[in-house]
Symmetry: D2
Subunit: 334 residues, 4 copies
């Protein structure tokens, strides 16, 4: 006999909210969509009708619905702290999209509420659930490359819109893109970030903004890393290289198919998968199943609140390093 | 408002039957599992209980269930003809696993019943729904390589068990493995097979059996093809190359991940996906959705009864060519 | 102390004659260019002056030069037999370009003269000296793939000129292109060709000519092979795949560099090397050094006269198979 | 009529001296080996006898030989300055191995002597003459990636011996390995190095030495680079990636062949070429031909004295950055 599906409410119905909604509705054995909310009430109502669930114009109203056992928070980053507090107070478990927040004080208040309420919180660093990076991580842990020395992450988003949005007066690049890689470094090295040194620029969108950055990172266990980020690249490029004393591991890009065309013009290799909804499709499914498993088992989810806070602190250090053109130790952020 | 899910009965609950059952149960918007049947009644009952649907010990009983609107036939090949007849007579649409049958007379009787009953029949040549081969086919149709000249298919199964089972006294290699490639040639060239010339042997399982074959094929439109088959290879190898007057297309293997390990021993590329349930996972989902779409639209499915019959005739010619060591024209088969 | 360089006369100063001339002049420790000859006397004289050696308008005159210890025959295929006879009679060792000849009777007369004179003869199947194919051959011999089952050779020349020239009323495709692959099969399998079955056509140059062929080959040791040839392809494509009971070996194309360009149009892989002078450059150098070594050691060169004769016989069988649309056993050729 | 070959004297007959000697002797049309010298007189004498040229136990003696028109300096780095001075004073053109020197004052004295004497000097940054990097550079200059944003260089030597030798009390890593990449950045970006930030360690040879480093580099034109170096890696790894506003270029490793072996253990890709004599073989030949061309044309060679000095200054900054754990601007070095 199967366990009862977990009743999920989704707050925020943008791209990422819709990805989670599709997961919840496709895997009926694990989840049950219980309610949806979006500030754009029409969006919420359309989806509610289609799925046959209540729709709300605010997270607060959704949290009052007793069929909601856990919420997925997929609203803008700077609203996460407050919503987590409200959800915890309402006794709901929380799956919060990354970044956990962009302000360390708001994070600390939210986490206090979570602890107080005894609910569980997971942060949506979905790339930990990507098959390639997960396998790479397992091979590292199995010492397949000996002792780890350095990591190089290439994480470049395609140019699809204007410059990165500003969040609390900072470039969204660090909180939307770099933050994935900062978390990945903590995940792969099992160490903390000691300092970051960022060179940022805006070669595509002009000097008033930051759309591109290279980040030099020192981990507390001696591993050195470099991260190559962009929100204005010509295509999606997602790779990791890890070098150790006895070998190296490289996770290459995934492609749309395996078909190569050769003709008189040259040899045309398969294209990379277009963007995150395609490239990381399965990881979003995997992470929500993992969340569900943690809730049912009553154990601390991973990536945890601590993981979410550490990545945000590192992203704040990146912003400061870029602004002040110097290495910034994490101890400055608090 | 969504259309009503299609009520599906599954007859035959081996590996492939279970693959279809998982599809039907995961995509509740399209399908509804209505009943299951297997000669091993315990197997049928276990699944019926888990899924909450009636279970039967024979296809005949399942066909009496009015909730079943369409059946998936996933029993051994030599039983397909009779089951198709019964299903058609009971007014059910049919999705029949490949091969359609291994006997042309039984196929013709079954297709007469289908026509008589006015039901629709689709044959499960799932590789037509594989992203790589589908894209390769589209590029061919778009004349991206100019006029097509030749095709080379590598289609080698891993050695996982004993020699290919005998079907009606013939090696299963031609009806389980080669038949996919014969259909693929018809799919990619949009022409018929004119003759086949097969060299078969049993390098792994010994001379009494056939576990390996190379097939030379002439298509009616002048395209020449070679097919490299095995049921005893060291790993799963699934590739297609197509050469035209202006270019070539190559569909490579899919791998379990994109991670390469380099160490003092050498460079270890990612492994191929293990076998058909992994490699063609999505194609099985796609083909059943396509079947559902054909039924709802009331149009002739593709791959059709004609496609199923043509592939079986070609596989019979392969058997004869191997046995008699000479090219065999399809006109000999009837 | 170093041995005396071998005095080489080159007869025939087309593309391939010039390749050998550059080798002889670049490696002064091994060879010494002693004389050159070409029916186009101006061509011969120009090179003779540049290199400071005597130049002749015919092979016969060159053979009278006592400084010539060995000749490289690089004239049209149908003149090889007679020139070998003359060279042998003049007491010169012979390096003869492939094909050894296009007529079995002329070959047998030439080989009789060679034997009579006690000189040594090597045939220029340079691909045996290509690093990739040589390494592939060594791995096969080391049983790295277990017992060999099948081989697939792709050997397609770029379209650079009109249709293949006719040689003795036969398409040059079989004697210039296919013959390399027939020899490669003998080299890799260490067996003889039993029969060939060829489907030939002229998709580029029209139906009066043959510019493309697929050849199905049975070796005497049970190995089955397919060869994909063209003299009108969109680029140079030179690959071998060999399947065994325990593994497979694939020799891929060599590229002009290792540089991949990605841009908004897609991913552009490095191009294949342009044609044989680029792709097989080192193999031409290697084979001439090997020839020199055989002469100095006084041992039978490899590829030998027997190898040259066998490949020509197989090419003649290919021509007949294509013309008569049936498998042709080598026993028919004699 | 051909120009007279350039008379070359080689000073220092270690690995790299022998590479240049082989080039000089193989291409008789361009060069003529005129003399050799090595502090190990037996080594010099052996080679002199083999090649039939005078041999000396010191560079000074060799410089007195009037047949020597130009010298190749292939002695330890810290002797280069003095030898350049002597050679210039003797009126010889100079091809000096990298690094030009490890001391800026010694460089400046040597360059003053070169200018005074009116001879020409070229520095042996051979990687500028590697086909892959040269082509990558040309594509960058042709704006194939739009405006250049960042470069990632992987340049890891195999572990073949003990820790890097100390040069003037500094790790040889920066002067033997990193210096190639610092020059490559100047070559590819056509800009100067503004600052370097190095994290160095000795994961293989222990904490007293430096055998591994990651270098973060800011160029004066805004390009940011990272360099991954080791002298203790499990194999030779030589790659460059360049990202621009409209695309990226990646130069991959060269392999010993193109042969992939698949078996039950996995898929074994071709190995990288073993070390610099194999990987960069052709570049050494190319650079010496280029040197010869510059001398004969009487034009300033490239890479020039300025290039050599700039790379040494940057390597000194790397040493300081590693030692003091901070970014070091090149203005500190002078």
């Amino acid at each position: 006999m199967m366990a009862q599906p977990l009743g999920i409410g989704i707050i925020g119905l943008g791209t990422i909210g819709h990805i989670h909604e599709a997961t919840v509705r496709s895997f009926g054995d694990s989840f049950r969509l219980a309610a949806v909310a979006d500030l754009d009430e029409a969006v919420a109502r359309r989806l509610g009708t289609e799925a046959g669930v209540p729709a709300y114009a605010s997270g607060g109203e959704l949290l009052n619905n007793p069929a909601v056992e856990a919420v997925v928070i997929a609203t803008p980053a700077e609203t996460h702290g407050e919503l987590i507090e409200e959800a915890a107070t309402a006794g709901k478990h929380v799956f919060c999209e990354k970044p956990l927040e962009v302000d360390v004080q708001r994070i600390d208040r939210a986490l206090a509420a979570v602890e107080q309420a005894g609910v569980l919180l997971m942060v949506g660093f979905n790339r930990r659930f990507d098959q390639n990076f997960e396998d790479l991580g397992e091979e590292l842990n199995a010492q397949r490359v000996g002792a780890l020395i350095s990591i190089h992450i290439i994480s470049r988003d395609p140019i699809l819109r204007g410059p990165p949005r500003q969040i609390d007066g900072m470039s969204g690049l660090f909180f939307e893109t770099t933050i994935h890689d900062l978390d990945m470094l903590r995940f792969l090295t099992r160490a903390e970030i000691e300092w970051v040194h960022v060179q940022a620029s805006a070669p595509v969108h002009g000097q008033a903004e930051v759309d591109t950055a290279v980040t030099f990172v020192q981990m507390t266990n001696g591993v050195v890393a470099t991260i190559d980020n962009s929100q204005a690249a010509y295509h999606y490029d997602q790779r990791i290289e890890a070098f150790g004393t006895k070998g190296a591991l490289v996770a290459a890009n995934q492609t749309v198919n395996t078909v190569t065309l050769s003709d008189a013009e040259g040899i045309h290799a398969p294209r990379h998968q277009y963007f995150f909804p395609q490239r990381y499709r399965q990881s979003y499914i995997n992470e929500l199943h993992a969340f569900c498993g943690f809730i049912k088992a009553g154990v601390e989810p991973r990536p945890s609140a601590v993981d979410g806070r550490a990545a945000t602190a590192a992203a704040l250090a990146c912003h400061r390093s870029a602004a002040e053109a110097r290495p910034v130790p994490l101890t400055e952020i608090g």
